[in-house]
């Protein structure tokens, strides 16, 4: 165990897998000498050379499409999309191709690849460097969508993603790269995809969330504890597959559920979680299922006060939690 930054844990997973499996390689924009715009791949070109740490032309559909072809031949590409906002030109390759390759070929051809991308706001990234786009993909069977909230999970889930025989989208909150650090196992570390984690055990209300919001919810829960409110927190870790059992269990635990995500509310992942509970645990509820998300506007503004208005924070979450507890 070593205390590590979230960003270093991600690199750890890639480096370890590349050392042990020659079919793993990374490709993307500026990931070579530049080490990625966030420095996630820093130092990797020095160890693995420019063929396995490949700077590509500026063309996301091409990056993903080429990775799909390489994966079909048994390589295990890890494609980095510089910001998740720029995954949109590659959506056709992801949804029409990666997600459907195994299904359409009746289990003959497969697509074992990972697409990594930083997402999320609060970093003055404005409309196109702040978005959360996971809701585009959690509806697409054939894909897996992983969003780790701790450094340990980042390493363990990314290792699992690289070894996964199917395409995995791996979304990293860019605000967490250098702000989150925790104990990370040193050697091989695999966290199975599809299992939510209880981050805090409580009895009054349940918060279901993922990504950076897990940390904000934890802070809010600390606050509420002082007020005598006990919070149960479920970190989904992957939104496709969703750990339904854990969702239902944690809802039943307290009977009061708040679903939180940074992404805008309407059509967000929160809807699915709420719907699962309304379908499978309705009579265990003591309050309406509340969703807290960003406002339904196209994206976060650059202006700092507007950005703060958009972004959730521990205080806003605490307010919703209080109201729910008081219900």
């Amino acid at each position: 165990m070593t205390v590590k930054l979230y960003i270093d844990a991600i690199r750890d997973a890639m480096v370890q897998e590349m050392r042990s499996d020659p079919s793993v390689f990374v490709l993307g924009e500026d990931i070579g000498l530049r080490g990625g715009v966030f420095r996630v791949t820093q130092g990797m070109i020095e160890e693995f050379g420019e063929q396995r740490v490949m700077d590509t032309p500026l063309a996301e559909s091409g990056i993903v499409g080429v990775a799909i072809g390489a994966a079909a031949m048994g390589l295990k590409p890890i494609a980095e999309i510089q910001f998740v906002d720029f995954i949109l030109p590659a959506v056709n390759q992801i949804i029409s191709e990666a997600a459907k390759m195994r299904y359409r070929s009746n289990d003959d051809w497969t697509c074992p690849m990972v697409i990594r991308a930083p997402f999320g706001g609060g970093v003055h990234g404005a409309l196109y460097h702040s978005q959360s786009l996971e809701a585009m993909f959690y509806h697409i069977p054939g894909l897996k969508v992983v969003i780790p909230s701790t450094a340990a999970d980042a390493k363990g889930l990314l290792t699992a993603a690289i070894r996964d025989p199917d395409p995995v989208l791996f979304f990293e909150h860019k605000g967490m790269y250098r702000s989150i650090r925790d104990d990370v196992p040193d050697g091989e570390h695999v966290v199975p995809i599809g299992q939510a984690a209880v981050r805090r055990v409580g009895t009054d209300i349940t918060v279901i969330t993922y990504g950076l919001m897990v940390h904000y919810a934890m802070q809010a829960a600390d606050e509420l504890e002082k007020e005598g409110i006990s919070t149960h927190i479920l970190d989904l870790r992957s939104i496709l597959p969703l750990d339904k059992q854990a969702i239902v269990d944690s809802a039943k635990k307290t009977g009061k559920v708040l679903v939180v995500h940074e992404d805008n509310k309407t059509g967000g992942v929160g809807g699915e979680i709420s719907a699962i509970i309304a379908e499978e645990a309705l009579f265990d509820l003591d309050a309406p299922i509340v969703r807290l998300g960003g406002p339904d506007v196209p994206a976060m503004a650059f202006n700092a006060s507007m950005e703060r208005f958009y972004m959730l924070n521990p205080a806003k979450i605490a307010d919703s939690m209080r109201a729910l507890a008081a219900f």
Binding site: A59, G65, A67, A72, G74, L75, Q93, R104, N106
Partner: protein
């Protein structure tokens, strides 16, 4: 008669034996006859959809024949029946696909006709959105380069599809990394109803290659030996690490776009008839006849064999079992 001698030996100059050119001819005929049968089945209500290769079998078979299907890979598009047969699928495989039976090697009955793919045959699974296979083929070629393997990847598409972003992004990637991939554009002058001049403003799709730093070659698709020759050149370059080639085979689609189309609203019968007269199969037949390789007897025996094979295949496929309805739920992910 000197000229004739030269003419007659074209295939030999290319290193092709008489048996090989006969085999090519047989494959073309097979593609054509399978295709014709599909239309019959469609018009009699037995299969809901056909997308046709007619008119393009010549360049398809010639291109595929230049490859080595035991080593090389193909990422064909929906018209490439000729390629698929040359890569080793049988008419029975194809009819199983058309009838969407459980045994369909391409998709187990999941995909529409013309959506080929089978690992065993070195054919990548294809989808409907056009041009997505182009970056895939580039990725396959990247795998060859990274692993130091010598296989070449063939990828085909229509001229209309060369206007998709994926064509551009795929070609550019391959150019930058000098990958062993051959971009084979079957320019049949229409994208469904939209004629060439409303699709592209350049003289030749092959002109686009210069923008990716590799050669672009225009070839008369009805001259199958010439198609074979430029493919062989391209394959040699690819295997030598000299990178990709874009080949544009000028051809024509003799049928409507698909069984759902009616081409009479956008082109004349005269134009189609004219194209039929230049059909690659007919041109090649004449060549083989002049070369003394294809006698009338031989032709008849090939055709009889094919008819028999196609009858057998049709019947087999027609009587084959469907995938179970519940199998819908399988293979979303690995087990």
């Amino acid at each position: 008669m000197k000229g004739d001698t030269k003419l007659l030996s074209r295939h030999q100059e290319l290193g092709l034996t008489d048996d090989q050119v006969l085999r090519m001819y047989e494959l073309m005929l097979s593609a054509r006859m399978v295709d014709e049968r599909m239309w019959l089945l469609n018009r009699s209500g037995k299969i809901p959809f056909v997308v046709s290769c007619q008119g393009q079998e010549g360049p398809q078979v010639a291109a595929a024949f230049a490859m080595d299907p035991s080593v090389d890979y193909a990422a064909p598009y929906y018209r490439d029946l000729g390629v698929v047969l040359a890569f080793g699928q049988t008419p029975r495989d194809v009819f199983l696909h058309m009838f969407a039976r459980a045994e369909d090697p391409n998709s187990g009955g999941r995909q529409m006709p013309g959506h080929y793919g089978s690992k065993k045959h070195h054919i990548l699974s294809g989808s409907s959105p056009v041009s997505t296979q182009i970056p895939h083929a580039v990725g396959m070629a990247l795998a060859a380069k990274m692993r130091g393997e010598s296989f070449v990847t063939y990828v085909s598409f229509g001229e209309g599809s060369s206007n998709q972003g994926d064509f551009h992004e795929g070609c550019n990637f391959a150019g930058v990394h000098k990958l062993p991939v051959i971009f084979f554009c079957e320019n049949n002058r229409y994208a469904i109803s939209v004629p060439l001049q409303k699709q592209v403003a350049c003289e030749h799709v092959a002109d686009r290659a210069i923008g990716y730093g590799f050669p672009g070659v225009v070839v008369d698709g009805n001259d199958v030996l010439e198609v074979y020759r430029v493919m062989k050149d391209a394959i040699l370059r690819a295997r030598n690490g000299q990178g990709p080639t874009l080949i544009e085979a000028m051809t024509y689609r003799l049928t409507p776009h698909s069984s759902d189309d009616d081409d009479r609203v956008y082109r004349t019968k005269e134009e189609v008839d004219e194209a039929k007269r230049n059909d690659a199969i007919a041109v090649f037949r004449t060549y083989l006849q002049n070369a003394g390789i294809l006698t009338e007897q031989r032709e008849t025996s090939i055709k009889n064999k094919l008819v028999e094979q196609i009858n057998e295949a049709t019947e087999y496929a027609q009587n084959a079992i469907d995938p179970s309805p519940e199998s819908t739920l399988l293979h979303v992910y690995a087990n």
